[in-house]
Subunit: 527 residues, 2 copies
C-alpha cells in the first residue's frame, strides 16, 4: 500500500478530497480492515467522468489490436497478484480461497476472450454496399457501415463476484473492448479488493500507453447517482438488486439525454423436474439440486430458487429427498452483514406466508445463513404472488407441485423474466417438451437441459440476460463475448474517400474482416 | 370500400365500437374526405395488443422462409394498388404523384430487402460452442445461441412518409421480419392511406396463412398511450417529433416492465462547406443545397437545417448565392395544416431572435410554406442555444459563419445528436478533414461527403439513426436491414438435444447459415 491508499482513481492519478472515511469489513468477524477509503466528492465524480470523456477519442481510435493487448496485460497483471491478494478477497467476502482463485482465472480468461473478439473483428459489424453508378432511376453511392464504442461507461460491480462481475469483470472488459473508457463504482463490500484490481488495471494501462482516464474508479455511498446523471456517461452496466438496478434505469431514462442501462437484477431460475427424470433418478436430482442451491452459500444470480413438478408419488418422494438433503446442509457465512440480514428477512417472509410451508432448514442463526426449503401452493404462482417472483438471495429454494401439465404451463406463463430456466428430463420427457421450451424461450435468456444453472460458461454463445426483471434489457448479455454489443453503435459513411474511412472499411480489408459486401459475407478486398 | 370502412384492424377482423368519428382532410383544401374513421376504444386497443400477443408464438416459430414470403406478398399487394390509391395518398398529403409512386417502390423494395435478410439468416446470429468433455478443471457443455423476436411491437408512423415510414414502412417490415406481430397506430394525417395499406397487409397475411393478429391497426387521437402501456407490447418504433417521441420513451421507461423505444425524432443535419469547395464550386453548391432544402417542401428528417463555413470572401459570396437561390424557390403546400402552423411558428421564432438575421424568403402565407434562409451568430451555436438545436420542420435553413477552424470544431462539438452530417470539400479539404470526421462520428449516424442528406438509401450499410435527440437510442437504425436488430434478443440453449433446438442451431445446418462455431465463422455442419 502506498500513501494513496483509499483514494479515487481519476485519469491515471489518485485523489482524496472527499469525506467521510469509509471502512471495509472482515466478512466473518465484522471488524474493520486496516486502512480507510475516501468517499468521492461531487467534484471527484465529475473529474472521473470527465477523465473518461477525455480518454475516449484517443482510446476508441486505437486499432483493435492495441485494445486487445491492453486487455491481455490487465489479465496478466491480475494473474500475478499474490496470495496476499487472494487472502484479502477472502477476508472481505468470506468466499473460500479456491473459489477466489477460480474466479480470478475466470476474470482474466474473460479479458482474454474479449482480446480474441477484438482480433476476430466481427464486433465491428463491417458492411459495404458498393456504388452502383448505372442504377436507375437513381445511381447508388458507396455506403459503408461499422460500429463504434458509445463513449464513457459507468459500471457498478456485484457483491457476489468480487472479481468476475466487478472492477475488471465482464462489464468493464466488454466496455474497454468496445473502445469505451470506464468509470467503475467500487462496491462497498470489497473496497480493498477493488483497489488492488484497479491498481492492476492502471498499471496495465500505463504499460500499454493507454490514454490516462481509460479506467477510473470511485468509492462511496450514493456516488452512483451523480455518476449515472453525468452528461459524459453514455451507458451503464450494473449487477445487483432489482431495486438498485431499477433506480439506475429510472435515473438514466430521466436524463436530458437518456442513456441505455444494462442492469442484471433478479431471477429465481425455475427448475422443472419432469416425470421420467423423477422415476429414473429422483434421488440423484435431489442431491444435485441441493448442492446447486447451497453452492457459494446460494449467492449466485443463477441460484435455483424455484423447483416445479407435476403431482405424483415420485414427485412427493423427490420432495422428501430434497427436504432431507437441504436439512443436511451446513450454515455458511454470507458476503456481508447486509446480505445476511436480507436473507433472514426473505426467509422470514416465506415462513410467515399462509400459502407457504417450511419443509427444511435450521432456525436462522445470527452469523451464518442456514439453507432452507419451502413448498408453496400452486395458486400463489398462478396468481403471480410477488413473494414467489422475487429472488431471495441466499441458500433457499421453493418447491411447487402442479396438478397437471396444463397447470405447469400456466404457472410458467405467470412467471416474470429469468436469467435461466432448466428442464430435468429423460429422453421420453424431452420428446414431449416442445411446448415447455417454446414457453421458456420467452421467459429466460438461457435454457438448460439436464444441468444446473449455477455454472455460467464464459463463451461466444453464452447469454447471461433475459426478460425483465432478470435484466433491464433482454437484448443484452453481461457474460460472454456478445456482451460487447451493448456498448456499440453503428455509423454509416457515404461516398467517403479511403483515407477518411475507418480501417475496418478500407477497400484492401487490412484487418482481414469477414464483411457483408453487397449482401454477401466476404473477406475479399473491394475492387 | 366495404362497410368496414374506418374500422380498426384487429386480429384479422374489423371493429368499430369507439367514438368519436374522425375525418381525414384534403391536404390542399382542408376539406374532409368522404367517409370517416372510428376512434379506437380502450377495449379495442387492448384487443389489438392481445391479438398481436396471441399471434406471436405461432408467427415467431415460422421458418424464416415463410416470413420472407409474407413480406414479399405484402410488397406485391402494395405494388398493384391502382392509380386511385396514388391519388388518395396525394390528396391526404399534398405530395406529388411521382414522389408517392417512388415512395411506394421504396416501401415494397424495403419489404423485399427484409425478405432477403430472412433468407440470408445472419439476423439469427447463430453461435455454437461445442462441448469439451475433456476440458479441465471442468468440462464444457454444448452451448448454442440464436436470436428471437421480442414480441408484439407498437409502431407509430410518420406524417412525412405516408408509405415508407408508415403502415407497411420500415419499422413494420423490420418487426415482422424479426417475427414480431405489429400493432400500428394510424397517423391522423393519412388515415385513408393507412387503411388501404393495412388492408393490403391483411390480404397478404391471409394469402400466406399467417396467424390472425400478425398485423393490427388502430385509429384515433391519444390511443398511442394505452398502446405503449399495454403489457403485451414489448417494443416501440416511432418516427416523429422530439416531444412526441420523448413522451413515448418516458411512458415506456415508467412501465412495470420497461420496454425499448426506437424513436427517430429531431435532427438539423449540419452541412459543412469547406474552403476548397467554396473556391471551386461555391455557386453550384448554393444551387444544390437550395434544392435539397426545399425538396419535398423540406419535410424530410434529413433536411439540411444548418450550413456551416469558415469566414472568407468565398463564404460571403456563397451565402449571397444561397440567398438568391432560396429567394427563387416557390412556396409549397405542406402535409397538413398542423405542419404549416408549426413551420410558421418556427420561422417566426427565428425571425424574432436578436442573434438571427433573415436573409431570404417571402412573408409566410396562410396556405403554403415559403422557403426561408437565416443567418445566426456563431455564438448562439457555441452556447448551444436551443432555437438553433431544434429542427424547424419545413423548407428553411440557417447559415452560421465561424471565425476559424477551431471555432468550427467548437460549434460542431456543441451540437446535439444528428441523423446526418455532411462535408462538402475538394481533395485538399478532405486531406485535412480527419479531425472533423472524428468529431462528427460522435454526432451523427450517417456521415456524407460531397452529397446531400435528403436521399436515404435502403440497404445493408445504411444507418438512419444517431445520438439523442436524433433518436432515442443511437444503437439502432430505422432504415436499412440492420433495423431488424432492434427487435431481436439472444437466447442460449445449453446441452440441448437436436430435436428441441431451433433449426438455426441444428448440427446439420439446414438453413445453410454462416455460424460462429467455436469462435470461427463456418457453414459446416457440426460433427
Amino acid at each position: 500500500m502506498t500513501s494513496y491508499a483509499g483514494q479515487q482513481f481519476i485519469g491515471g492519478a489518485r485523489s482524496a478530497t472527499g469525506q467521510p472515511l469509509l471502512h471495509s469489513l472482515d466478512a466473518r468477524t465484522g471488524e474493520a480492515l486496516p486502512g480507510a477509503f475516501y468517499q468521492a466528492s461531487p467534484a471527484e465524480v465529475d473529474a472521473a467522468a470527465t477523465a473518461a470523456a477525455r480518454a475516449y477519442p484517443g482510446f476508441r481510435a486505437l486499432a483493435p489490436e492495441r485494445r486487445a493487448a491492453f486487455l491481455e496485460t490487465i489479465a496478466a497483471e491480475l494473474d500475478v497478484l499474490g496470495e496476499d491478494f487472494i487472502a484479502l478477497v477472502c477476508r472481505e467476502t468470506a468466499l473460500p480461497a479456491a473459489r477466489i482463485q477460480g474466479e480470478r482465472a475466470r476474470t482474466s480468461g474473460q479479458l482474454r476472450l474479449f482480446a480474441e473478439v477484438l482480433r476476430r473483428g466481427d464486433f465491428l459489424g463491417a458492411r459495404i454496399d458498393r456504388a452502383q453508378p448505372q442504377r436507375t432511376p437513381l445511381p447508388r453511392l458507396d455506403i459503408r457501415q461499422c460500429r463504434l464504442g458509445l463513449g464513457p461507461v459507468a459500471v457498478f460491480g456485484a457483491s457476489n463476484f468480487p472479481l468476475a462481475f466487478s472492477t475488471a469483470g465482464g462489464d468493464t472488459a466488454a466496455a474497454l473492448a468496445a473502445g469505451c473508457p470506464v468509470v467503475f463504482k467500487a462496491h462497498s463490500g470489497h473496497m480493498a479488493t477493488a483497489q488492488a484490481v484497479a491498481a492492476a488495471i492502471v498499471r496495465a494501462a500505463e504499460r500499454c500507453k493507454m490514454p490516462a482516464g481509460v479506467f477510473n474508479m470511485i468509492f462511496g455511498a450514493g456516488v452512483g447517482e451523480a455518476l449515472v446523471k453525468h452528461p459524459a456517461i453514455q451507458a451503464v452496466g450494473f449487477t445487483g438488486s432489482l431495486k438498485g438496478g431499477r433506480a439506475l434505469c429510472d435515473m438514466a431514462a430521466a436524463r436530458a439525454q437518456p442513456i441505455p442501462v444494462f442492469a442484471e437484477m433478479s431471477s429465481i431460475n425455475p427448475v422443472i423436474v419432469l416425470p421420467g427424470a423423477l422415476a429414473q433418478r429422483g434421488e440423484a436430482i435431489a442431491g444435485e439440486l441441493a448442492a446447486s442451491v447451497v453452492l457459494g452459500c446460494g449467492q449466485f444470480c443463477t441460484n435455483p430458487g424455484l423447483v416445479l413438478g407435476v403431482r405424483s408419488a415420485q414427485f412427493s418422494a423427490f420432495v422428501e429427498q430434497l427436504q432431507a438433503r437441504i436439512a443436511d446442509q451446513p450454515a455458511q457465512t454470507m458476503l456481508n452483514a447486509g446480505t445476511l440480514r436480507s436473507y433472514a428477512h426473505g426467509v422470514a417472509q416465506l415462513k410467515a406466508h399462509a400459502g407457504i410451508r417450511h419443509l427444511a432448514g435450521a432456525e436462522q442463526a445470527a452469523e451464518q445463513a442456514s439453507p432452507q426449503l419451502f413448498q408453496a401452493d400452486a395458486q400463489l404462482l398462478l396468481n403471480a404472488e410477488p413473494l414467489l417472483q422475487e429472488e431471495v438471495f441466499g441458500p433457499t429454494t421453493v418447491v411447487v407441485e402442479l396438478t397437471d401439465r396444463a397447470e405447469l404451463l400456466a404457472a410458467l406463463h405467470a412467471l416474470g423474466g429469468q436469467l435461466t430456466a432448466t428442464l430435468l428430463g429423460e429422453p421420453d420427457d424431452l420428446a414431449e417438451a416442445g411446448d415447455l421450451v417454446a414457453l421458456l424461450e420467452h421467459k429466460a435468456g438461457r435454457l438448460l437441459i439436464n444441468g444446473y444453472p449455477t455454472g455460467v460458461e464464459v463463451s461466444d454463445a453464452m447469454v447471461h440476460g433475459g426478460p425483465y426483471p432478470a435484466t433491464s434489457d433482454s437484448r443484452g448479455t453481461s457474460v460472454g463475448s456478445l456482451a460487447i454489443e451493448r456498448f456499440l453503435r453503428p455509423v454509416c459513411y457515404q461516398n467517403f474517400p479511403q483515407a477518411l474511412l475507418p480501417e475496418a472499411l478500407h477497400d484492401g480489408n487490412p484487418l482481414g474482416l469477414l464483411r457483408l459486401v453487397d449482401g454477401q459475407p466476404s473477406r475479399d478486398p473491394i475492387r
